[in-house]
């Protein structure tokens, strides 16, 4: 079975952009291998096939690699690298916004998500799949007010996703008419919940009560948990 978390490789035309994205994503997920692969060997703008290949081989901790890219030709280079790996099944090129996708993927990988789930997180493809009506059998629900200054911003959203990682429960967060999968940083950010807004947290499944308790504790302590 996979040894470490799924790794990320950031493929960019610019070395500094790749390094910056890797730096930002690593802040959310310090234990996830994240390798920047940007720019040409001479420091110019472009994508370097050899550097991307080396980054994939170095980053893979046993659970596979997700490659994120900035622009179209970086995607083509990333695809060529995946095709040329000894085990092409262990690497996937993810479509999605580079910065948000890298952060979402890193948080998912830190939570122990498998390759497919990290790809889904990177591409923002996780649907708000929890649609149980309030009060349904086995559902745990709590309504809370956001009291931290920045609201459900990137870092709080990432902390929220992490706090329920590994729990066996379907968890959703509702803000007014909008509902988000609580395992998706992108979906949570999409709620645009600010300080003073009220959120309804709902969970179903064996660990539903624990999930709701942990999120409640997090929100009540302004995400200092």
């Amino acid at each position: 079975m996979p040894a470490g978390p799924v790794a990320l490789v950031v493929v960019s035309h610019s070395a500094r952009l790749a390094e910056g994205v890797a730096e930002l994503a690593a802040q959310m997920a310090p234990d996830v291998p994240i390798k920047p692969a940007g720019g040409l060997p001479d420091g110019g703008i472009g994508t370097d096939y050899g550097a991307v290949l080396a980054a994939c081989e170095q980053a893979d901790a046993g659970a596979g690699v997700v490659l994120l890219y900035d622009l179209g030709s970086a995607r083509m280079t990333a695809e060529l690298v995946v095709e040329s790996l000894a085990e092409p099944d262990r690497a996937v090129v993810a479509d999605g916004p580079l910065v948000e996708g890298a952060v979402a993927a890193a948080v998912a990988a830190a939570g122990g998500a498998d390759l497919a789930a990290v790809v889904a997180a990177a591409s923002g493809a996780e649907p708000g799949s929890v649609a149980a009506p309030a009060g349904a059998d086995g559902e745990h629900t709590v309504e809370l007010e956001l009291t931290n200054d920045v609201g459900l911003h990137a870092r709080p959203a990432a902390v929220l996703v992490r706090t329920i990682a590994g729990l066996d429960a379907e968890v959703s967060v509702r803000h007014g008419e909008q509902q988000a999968d609580a395992r998706s940083v992108l979906a949570l950010l999409g709620l645009a919940a600010a300080k003073g807004d009220r959120l309804v947290v709902s969970a179903r499944g064996p660990d539903a009560a624990t999930a709701v308790d942990r999120i409640s504790a997090l929100i009540r302590t302004d995400f200092h948990g």
């Binding site: 040409l40 472009g46 096939y49 030709s73 083509m76 060529l80």
Partner: protein, 212 residues
């Protein structure tokens, strides 16, 4: 009469010369609707190929194309690397271990190259890309083959069609690549990728004609 390994190397060296000679033109075309690196990137890739072929010449036509493909992929740095690289890799795959290119295998190689470029870049005819030069080139080569053309005639037909195809990109709105961000502002400009495809095919045709 076919084209053996030496002929393929001669054609690709000629293509490298053409790329170097047209470096500024390709840079200028790309500067207007792209990132301005197409000419420099291709020149770097072909110069590296010439250096590699100077060190040791592969034994078969397919091996020469494979060497060009891997060199372009690893040294071009822009979209042309994966696109031409995949195209020449597919061409090599269709040729197999044949000792010489015949009109039949050349058409198959061109068709394979087109399929590779389309698979890699996901562009369709009309998107204002190299596909707009390569698609009519393959069709013209196929028609020439059916009409009984030899290799120089067949490649000349392909080059003529590629040049017309490249010219046809001028009024188009770019839908792929960096130029697509410009939308309507890409209208009125020749696509640099289509232009370089036409240049390469013309170089191949000229070598075939001279050698015949």
């Amino acid at each position: 009469m076919g084209c053996e390994t030496d002929g393929v190397v001669a054609a690709l060296r000629a293509a490298a010369d053409v790329v170097v000679a047209h470096r500024d033109e390709l840079v200028e075309l790309d500067r207007v609707i792209g990132d301005g690196d197409h000419g420099e990137n291709l020149r770097r890739g072909f110069r590296n190929f010439v250096a590699a072929v100077d060190r040791s010449t592969p034994e078969t036509p397919a091996a020469v194309f494979k060497l060009l493909a891997t060199t372009l992929i690893s040294t071009v740095g822009g979209a042309a690397g994966p696109l031409y690289g995949t195209g020449f890799l597919r061409a090599a795959a269709t040729i197999g271990d044949a000792a010489e290119l015949t009109p039949e295998t050349t058409v198959a190689a061109l068709r394979g190259a087109l399929q590779g470029v389309v698979a890699r870049g996901k562009a369709e005819p009309g998107d204002k890309t190299m596909v707009d030069a390569l698609t009519p080139a393959v069709a013209a080569a196929e028609a020439a083959l059916e009409a009984g053309a030899d290799l120089p005639e067949l490649l000349t037909a392909a080059a003529d069609a590629a040049e017309q195809g490249a010219e046809s990109t001028i009024p188009l709105v770019a839908r792929k690549g960096r130029a697509s961000y410009l939308g309507q502002r890409s209208v009125g400009h020749l696509d640099p990728g289509a232009r370089s495809t036409a240049l390469l095919l013309r170089a191949f045709a000229d070598v075939a004609v001279k050698g015949s």
